[in-house]
Structures are given as structure tokens and as C-alpha cells.
């Protein structure tokens, strides 16, 4: 196996206005590639009276990205993908919560926007690759096939949110930060050294389209108040909630149940049922899951046949857990070696072979390690 050969490519660098994507674009340019920067306008909140004007945050981010591109010395454009983003990411996000699942919008954005809508347009315009500031590694094998690996720095690794990429998408992906074992401070220092003003810009929120970070408020606005029961595993009502979408499996805080559990131990969200608008809570032990099924599998390369042993990651910033997984029809069936706590349907399971991403799928159902009483 060899590292990505450095023949000059025409590269479209997605620049969010943050420090990582700016340094990634700068590194790609420094490596001799012909780089063009593009900022994706993804939100369409009119905040000025001119029709279609963008919100101030977006303008600020796009200005920061433009400043960085000017310093790097590359052309820069803003592309309006707000409509696609709304359809494929925001509406999907709301619908998933409404269905009692916990989506990961960053993953969806990589799958549908950055490495689909953006990549398609880039390829049509004659670019060879899309470059982002993700921390992950692409390795090219001697036979030309590509593999996606965890970043050299495990603490910064973002391969989980890229696990949805198939080999065609991977063939045109460039992650210049993936080889760096570095802290955020060092990336900032590098940005500073390169004269990039975004060096001191604060990190962005996890979900870019919820500017204030208040996911519950955002969902309440979209889905309205829908009071329902909070029950224990036997079905006894313990309290009321204002919308089942406000909960995530494994959640402990914010349940607002007046009476403590008989054993005095904390209770967690075990199940969310949008059909009867009920949230079930119970002890930590009931969160233990022995296996899961997952749908819409995507593979980095050829789909594996028969059962295989892998390590799995079940949420962003989550740890690894050993599993046996097998593709049965279109469904991925996964058994954990040891019970795992708090697995939320809607999240992605990404399978790894060592540091190599094998594929991913969306968690549909889980099986309890202990039977519900």
C-alpha cells in the first residue's frame, strides 16, 4: 500500500469558513494541486429585506472562507445548495426525530451534499476531487482501489461521519488533515503561520443549521407540542412529556419525573414510541443491547459475504466495540460480543477492520440483553 500519489489534480476545496477546511485547502494548494475554494450556502433564512438574502451567520462564514481563499491565493465561489440541503438533510433530520429515531445530520450531509451534489457538480465542471477538512485517511492500494481509514490521530478521527461514502465517492475525496497527529491548537498554529485569519475563530456548533445549539427548541418549533406519557417498563405512568421527539435512547437528564425510582437509582430513556407518543424509562441495566439490525448498508468497496468479525462504532465520538456482522438480504445483522449500553435507532453503525472503514448502515432495531419486565 502507498500513500495517495501527489500528481497535480484539479481540486475543489469545500470551505466552511472554519479553521480545519481552510488549512486543508492550504495544504492541498501547497502540495501542488490546482485548488479552487467553494463555500456552500446551506441555509436560507432571510434576515435582510432583500429577497433571498442570507442570514448574517452565513455571510460571516462565507466572508471568512473568502478571506482564507484570498490569502491562500485560490479562486473562490459561493454555491447555493440550500434547497438540496433542506430537502436531504434538514427535513430528514426532523422526520427521523418525529419517528422516534436519533439522526446524524453530518453523516447525511457528507453522503447527500458534499460527496454527492457538490462532487457531481465538481466532476461535471472538470474537477478531479473534492477536498474537505475532515480528519480521515484515504489510502490507495497498488491495484488502484481505495480504502478509507481512521485519521492518524484517533482523538480527532472523523471517519465515522464519512462511513457512508462508497468507493466511487472515495475515489474523488481528499482529506489533507488525515495524516496529521495534531491538536486543535497545532492546527490553529498552522493557520496562524499561514496567515489565515480564521486561526482564532471559535469552533462551530455540532449542527450547523441550529445556530444556537438548541436542538429541542428547533424540533419543538418544527413539530409542535405533543404531550404524552412517560412510563416505566411495566407501563405505569410516571409523568408527562411535551413531545417524544425531545428524547434520545440512553438520555438521563431532563426527564422531569417527580417520583424517584423504587431502588433510588437513576432512570434512563429506554424506548421512544411515536405511535402512541410514549417514552419508556428504566434502569441502566435495561439499556444493555446484545445486537441490532441496520438498514441501507453502504460499503467502501465490495460488500462482504457471510458473517465477519469487526469492530463497530455506534455514534460520533463513540468508542469501538467488537461485533459479528452479516449482511442478510438488504439488512445488516449485528451481534455484540459484550452488551452495549444506549444504542439509538437512526444513528449509524460503522464497521471497521482495524483502522479501515468497511461500511456503514443505519440502525433500525436493537435487541435487549435483558428482557423487559
Amino acid at each position: 500500500m502507498t500513500e495517495t500519489p501527489q500528481r497535480p489534480l484539479r481540486v475543489l476545496a469545500a470551505m466552511s469558513g472554519g479553521v480545519d477546511s481552510a488549512v486543508a485547502a492550504a495544504r492541498a494548494a501547497e502540495a501542488g494541486h490546482d485548488v479552487t475554494g467553494v463555500h456552500l450556502a446551506l441555509s436560507a433564512n432571510p434576515q435582510s429585506f432583500r429577497t433571498g438574502a442570507r442570514g448574517c451567520c452565513t455571510i460571516e462564514d462565507s466572508r471568512d472562507a473568502r478571506r482564507a481563499a484570498d490569502v491562500i491565493g485560490i479562486p473562490f465561489y459561493v454555491w447555493d445548495l440550500a434547497e438540496r440541503f433542506r430537502e436531504d438533510v434538514v427535513e430528514d433530520f426532523v422526520a427521523e426525530y418525529e419517528a422516534g429515531r436519533t439522526p446524524n445530520p453530518c453523516l447525511r450531509c457528507n453522503e447527500k451534499i458534499k460527496f454527492a451534489a457538490l462532487l457531481d457538480k465538481a466532476l461535471a465542471l472538470g474537477f478531479d476531487a473534492v477536498c474537505t477538512g475532515h480528519y480521515a485517511k484515504v489510502i490507495v492500494n497498488d491495484d488502484g482501489t481505495r480504502e478509507l481509514h481512521r485519521a492518524s490521530d484517533m482523538a480527532k478521527d472523523q471517519s465515522y461521519v464519512l462511513g457512508v461514502l462508497d468507493d466511487k465517492q472515495l475515489a474523488h475525496a481528499m482529506f489533507p488533515l488525515g495524516d496529521t497527529v495534531t491538536t486543535k491548537d497545532e492546527i490553529r498554529a498552522e493557520a496562524e503561520r499561514r496567515g489565515l485569519a480564521v486561526a482564532r475563530k471559535p469552533d462551530s456548533h455540532d449542527i450547523c443549521f441550529i445556530a444556537d445549539g438548541d436542538t429541542q427548541g428547533f424540533l419543538a418549533q418544527r413539530l409542535g407540542r405533543a404531550e404524552g406519557d412517560i412510563v416505566d417498563e411495566s407501563g405505569t405512568k410516571l409523568g408527562t412529556h411535551e413531545g417524544a421527539y425531545g428524547f434520545t435512547i440512553g438520555q438521563r437528564k431532563g426527564l422531569r419525573i417527580g417520583t424517584p425510582a423504587p431502588d433510588g437509582k437513576p432512570r434512563y430513556v429506554l424506548d421512544i414510541s411515536p405511535v402512541n407518543n410514549t417514552v419508556t424509562v428504566g434502569p441502566a441495566a435495561s439499556l444493555d443491547v446484545s445486537g441490532l439490525t441496520a438498514i441501507k448498508p453502504r460499503w467502501c468497496g465490495v460488500a462482504p459475504t457471510g458473517p465477519g468479525t469487526y469492530t463497530a462504532q455506534l455514534r460520533a465520538h463513540g468508542g469501538e466495540t467488537p461485533v459479528t456482522a452479516e449482511l442478510v438480504g438488504d439488512e445488516l445483522q449485528v451481534a455484540f460480543e459484550e452488551p452495549v449500553r444506549g444504542v439509538a435507532p437512526g444513528q449509524a453503525i460503522v464497521l471497521y477492520d482495524g483502522t479501515r472503514v468497511v461500511g456503514s448502515a443505519t440502525i433500525a432495531t436493537t435487541s435487549r440483553a435483558t428482557a423487559v419486565a
Binding site: 429585506f49 445548495l81 451534489a117 461535471a124
Partner: protein, 387 residues
Amino acid sequence: MAYLDHAATTPMLPEAIEAMTAQLAVTGNASSLHAAGRRARRTVEEAREALAEALGARPSEVVFTSGGTEADNLAVKGLFWARRSADAARTRVLASPVEHHAVLDAVHWLGEQEGATVEYLRVDTYGRVHPEALREAIERNPDDVALVTVMWANNEIGTVMPVRQLAAVAAEFGVPVHADAVQAFGQVPVDFGASGLAAMTVSGHKIGGPYGIGALLLGREYSPVPVLHGGGQERHVRSGTLDVPAVAAFAVAGQLAAEQRERFAREIGGLRDELIDVVRKAVPEAILGGDPVDRLPANAHFTFPGCEGDSLLLLLDAQGIECSTGSACTAGVAQPSHVLLATGTDPDLARGSLRFSLGHTSTKADVDAVAQAIGPAVERARTAGLT
């Protein structure tokens, strides 16, 4: 490098640079009474006279501003406030829908914040306001019209408006007319005195003068309410210490623009016609925007069906050809041009617009570069499609 975005800004003329740099070393506030002030004032007044002569105006009708945007705001807001304060019933503003944002957003603001009723005048497929359309609009109630604002020539598609006839119609009803002549000056005959206009905007950097300087030509009988209050310079209409070097250079550029207008129209117009030919030859389905005949001699505007203007811009930029999709936006996000939408262009089609604007430094080589690049660029942009 083929610079074909002169309508955005055009290189400064050497004569203007000379006049400006000569003045940069001279001290003097044109409002001061001592010798330095008198010297500065003389420079300013000579510039005012030169510019007035170039535009068929009296020197007292030249009000210097910081540029076209400020002059547009002063005319639109100032005349509205003055007319309404003289007669509270006069709150109707008639504007063409193809105005530059400096006018469009100003009248919009009057509607939102000052109780104005803004009406957009009907335009034809070339974006032209016909005198009958203006007459109809005024006649609906001649007593409530505050002002009319219609640009002399359109910055995107180049169509020239019948300004004199429009002003004549408005004059029958005693209604003042403002025209933004930023693009027209130096390209078509612009005679303020003969136009019948109450106010007219011109800008320095569009005619080979410096940035940050412009003027509102203002009939002597009009006293718009100031936007900028202060020391009372410029007929008490526009306060602020005058930028003597910029004023001097602006006047030099203005004089040259007027003197060389015919030659410019002939030579650059010829080059522009060649540009239109080569584009049509390479892309037969390209649609020329604006009036094919009565248009700015330096403007060539096209719509390319099935293409995103932004994609074309990127592809041509990569070939060293600098042009524009027509309307710039702060965030750089392309919106379908309000000018094209006003002319009845389909919104999807409107996204494929591209403006080439020539200027005093344009050459045959620029046209050749477009001839080479436009065909493949359109083909590629079409593959990328409309996202």
C-alpha cells in the same frame, strides 16, 4: 488575462491618476478661508465646472458625493422627504423594476420605513420603460406622486431608456424625475440640461476616475432633505469635507469621457459587436439580453439555456476571462437577476446569465479569448446543469 467586467469598474485613466497624485501632496480643506483652503477650493470649483460642462449642467448643479450609491440614496430619499414635507399627500414613488440596488433598495426602504407607496413601472422584454407606462401610472393619481426614478441605461442588460421623453411626461404633472446615469456617462450622449431631469447620478470609477467619488446632478430648484447632515458643504445638501484629489481626478475622467464618447462608442461598440458574433457562432442558442440596437456600446449580455451562470464564471475565470453574472451579492450567492425577471425571463433561464462589459483598455485579443473559451465552457456548464 481578458478583463471584461468594466461595468463593475474600469481601470483609471493615466490622466486621472496624474491629476489625483498631484493633488495628494497638496494640503487644504476647501471650506477653509486661508490660502491653503482657497487653493483647494479653486481646484474643486474648477473640477465642478469641468464636470458640469461634460454633462451639460451648470456648475451649481453638481453635488459631489462618495459615489453612485450615495447619490442615488440622496436623490431618492431626499426628494421623497422634501416633496412629502411640502405636501403630505405626495407619498407615491414610481420606479423602474430594473434599477440598480442602490435605487431599488432605497425605494424599498421608503416603502417599509417611511410610509411610501412604491409602484414599479411596466417594462418591455428589453427592460425599457415606455412613456405611456409612466403616463398611465402618474394619471392614476397625479396628486400623490412624490418622484419618479428610472435609470438612464441598465447596468446588466445595457438597454437605454427614453429618459427625455419620460421626463417630459412627468413634467406635465410637475413630478421630478431622477435617473441613475452611472453606466450611461461616457457611452451614450448624456446632457443633464437638455434631459428635463431633476436629478441624475454619475460615478467616478465607472469612467476611468477614482473609487469613492461620484456626483448628483441636481436642478437648482430642488432641495432634497440631506441624508448626511454636518458642515453644510455642497449647497447644504451633502455635508462632509470634499476629497480634493478624487474630485480633481473625477473631473479629468469626466471631461475625457465626454470628449471621447463618440470614438468610444464607435471603436468599443465595434469590438462589442464582434464579441456578440463570436459568442453566437460558438453557442447559437445563446440569447442576447436587452435591446439589440439601442443599448450601451460596451455591453454584451447573454443567457445560456441550461447553464448556471456561476459555473460559466468559474470556468471562464480559470481561462483568464473575467466577467460577471450580472448582479453581485454580498454573500456571493447567485440569485436570479431581478432585471431579467422583470423582463419576463423564466427564473431557471435567468440563472444562466453572463455579462461581458468592455472598456477603454479592451482589445481584439479579449474577444479572441472569449471566442476560444465560450463554446467548451458552455458545454461543460451544461453538463453540470442547474443544481
